[in-house]
Amino acid sequence: MRDSRKKPRFSWLTQLWEDIKASTDPGLLGIARFLGLIYGPIDRRLPIDQSLRKSLARRLPSYVGWRHALGGITYLLFIVLIVTGVLLSFYYRPSVQEAYPSIQYIVTDVPMGWLVRDLHVWSANLIVVALLAHMARVFFTGTYKPPRETNWLVGLLLLLVVLAFGATGYLLPWDQWAYWTVTEVLDVVSRIPILAIVADVLRGDVNVSGATLSRFFAVHVIILPWMALALLLFHFSLVRRHGIAPPTDGPPTAGDGVRFYPTHLLRSFIVGVLVLAVAISLAALFPRPTGDRADPFMLPEELVSTWIVVDVSLALIRYLGVWGFTIFTVLGLSMALLPLFDRRPERRLKRRPVILILGVVFFGGFLIAWLAGRQLRSLPPGTQLRPGSGIESVTEEPGPAAPPETEDAPQGDEGEGGP
């Protein structure tokens, strides 16, 4: 407290002492107030501290439990992707000549670069799983029904944005697997009306080239982050506005509910810490392998997928062709339009057999397509280019009279060792 009887020339010292005393308050608010040494004077004019206390003191319905952590996990993985993505962008160079060497430089020479890169790759996989699990909970519990139908649509848009993030990021390593997977998927999408225009714009050339890489990079690091930020803010504000949906089996329980802090925040913290540990473990145990440098004139021996959605896409393309994408698109659209048709207040799943079937087909289909895609390591059928490199050819047929094919593809740039 300010003492007006003390000499004015020591007032700043008094103020500093007051701030230090305030920062000794144990707990999250105390830690936050410790920053008051910096923002304290502002805080006395703006009600930052007051609003923070109000937010933390907020009470959530008593039925909010562990299962509501799925959205938080998705958000946490999104933050991890942003942080690791920014770190990667310090070293990554989006050009045909430098993309592949810069990835090599990141994983071999940059301190902990391998962890940042593999954490980015694994988070991109885990966020799809978390998002689908979150979506499945909302879908099967009928939480998309009024008044939360707008938020359901926003969530679907966020799913699309996450898929677009992964799709555009998949090409960036510029290795053979990325190059030929993107080539195959873009070729199929080019056969679908309307989407063909998007595919042509993204490709920017007659085949996947430096123009495609530039476009994918720009979409990945400039356009999509802003879209995601806007959609996330909208999503969260709608959650706050409408609250968390009550359970399907009866009216919400009476009582004051649970406190946001510390109860819900601690639950989120425990889940978040475990998710982070799992992501780091996956990154350390199963690092993303690197293929050979992309070569438009040479097919790889096999296509190794490193993203869950690529597995699904390749399975749909190989087994069902254009129809695979079409069926999945129709299913996705029916999901988006669901709140318009299913407006009954009934949320119990056993009273909604059509929705149950639709959900099982969509989520089950995704799971089956993923498992089928994991088995696909071959090149697309009908490819005309010469597969394989010289190394594999000679080791397969090391006969004395079998002169090997040498690898003629230019490899000179690989030796630059990154930026």
């Binding site: 510390p262 639950r267 913290f269 425990i270 293929g291 080791t395």
Partner: protein, 420 residues
């Protein structure tokens, strides 16, 4: 009248009035074509032959029907057209040779097209030529049997019977005919054998047009099986280094004395079999008695060649591991090329049966391979070290999780107490 409709014929008329365009429209060749359409009687009946002839190269060289078939192309009735003194009609096989060589054995005519004029001389030395010209055997092929009578195309034209991928099929037209070949005591499985041979696979599957076809070993116009002592020379036209090694070894001496059928003794002729390193000793025992000194050398060669192949394979796998770990492999790839060169020399040098030279080359392959593998092992160690990060990560995560759990339990208990 519509202005646009009048403009188009107007422009066409202007184009017709331009002398430069008139010249461009009627070249000499086109002028001749117009004359043939108007005055040439052969095409009235033999229109199919004319169509076929126009596809070939001779139609552009001012050659007409009467140049080969005689007769009078200005006679528009059969009697008058076919009545001329020099009328031949369909030339027989001997006449065909004479007709074709009228031009093709004349250096003055062939020089302008950059073509050789020695086909007749070559043909006389061939088995085909001997049969036809010396013995009058009309089963033997003449020029048109391989090159077609009217649609004569350049060998570089993929439609030609003598295009690299078509030659073997052209030869097989007769050489697969069991009734025809029975008279000469020749087998008829050459084409099938060739297709599955190293050369056939290289040509048909790998599209390697440097691979030899029938004419690569037997000659084209001078087609004749090489003599026993010549086989190594025939193969050595392409496999130069192998022949050099073969010549300095005991097998080369035997082949020159016609006691060994050269390369075909081990690799067969049309089958051109690739012998993998692990089958070398087995191949030696086809001639040399098992347990003999020669068979022992075969075993030693097999051991060295097999080990070299394994070393090369492990080097390739190490490079794959390095690529997968995101390592720069440009240097490793260059070193691999050195190992590959040494391995190829193993393949060549084994034909000399020089065990010391073979061992030196094998060691060179092994040395480079070890170098590359050690780089891969370093990368693997780094990967293993990365996993150590899991110890502090899980310690911190579990500690924080457990502490938070206790805090949560405490908070829930106090909340329950407050509620009561």
């Amino acid at each position: 009248m519509n202005f646009k409709l009048t403009l188009i014929p107007g422009l066409l008329l202007m184009a017709g009035a331009n002398p430069r365009w008139v010249t461009a429209q009627t070249t000499d060749a086109q002028q001749r074509e117009l004359e043939i359409e108007r005055d040439y009687s052969c095409v009235v009946c033999h229109i199919d032959k004319r169509r076929a002839f126009r596809l070939g190269v001779h139609s552009d060289r001012g050659i007409h029907c009467e140049d080969c078939h005689g007769g009078d192309p200005r006679g528009f009735e059969v009697e008058s057209a076919h009545r001329a003194v020099d009328y031949i009609g369909s030339p027989d096989k001997l006449q065909t040779v004479e007709l074709c060589t009228d031009c093709h054995a004349d250096p003055d005519q062939m020089r302008q097209y950059g073509l050789p004029a020695g086909e007749l001389a070559e043909y006389r030395t061939s088995r085909h030529g001997m049969l036809l010209l010396d013995r009058g055997d009309l089963n033997a092929p003449t020029c048109t049997d391989c090159h077609d009578a009217h649609t004569i195309l350049r060998p570089t034209d993929a439609r030609s019977n003598v295009y690299p991928t078509n030659i073997a099929g052209t030869c097989a037209t007769c050489h697969e005919d069991e009734s025809l070949m029975a008279g000469y005591g020749l087998p008829t499985d050459q084409f099938d054998t060739y297709r599955s041979s190293a050369h056939g696979v290289a040509l048909y599957e790998k599209h390697n047009f440097a691979a030899p076809t029938c004419v690569g070993c037997h000659g084209s116009h001078s087609a004749l099986p090489p003599a026993v002592a010549q086989i190594a020379n025939v193969c050595g036209q392409c496999h130069v280094r192998v022949r050099e090694a073969f010549d300095v070894g005991p097998h080369g001496t035997a082949a020159r004395a016609a006691k060994l059928s050269g390369c075909t003794a081990c690799h067969s002729n049309h089958g051109t079999e690739v012998i993998p390193p692990d089958r070398i000793a087995e191949t030696c025992t086809e001639c040399h008695e098992a347990g003999s000194e020669a068979a022992g050398i075969g075993i030693e060669i097999e051991e060295k060649a097999t080990r070299a192949a394994e070393e090369l394979r492990s080097a390739a796998e190490a490079i794959d591991e390095l690529v997968s770990a995101g390592r720069d492999v440009s240097d490793a790839r260059l070193r691999y090329q050195s190992a590959l060169t040494a391995f190829m020399q193993v393949s060549q040098t084994q034909h000399s049966l020089d065990l010391t030279a073979l061992d030196d080359l094998r060691r060179e392959v092994a040395s480079i391979s070890l170098d590359i593998r050690s780089s891969a092992e370093v990368a693997a160690e780094h990967r293993w070290e990365h996993r150590l990060i899991l110890v502090p990560v899980w310690f911190l995560a579990l500690s924080a999780g457990v502490l938070a759990w206790f805090k949560l339990r405490g908070s829930e208990r106090s909340a329950t107490a407050e509620g009561q």
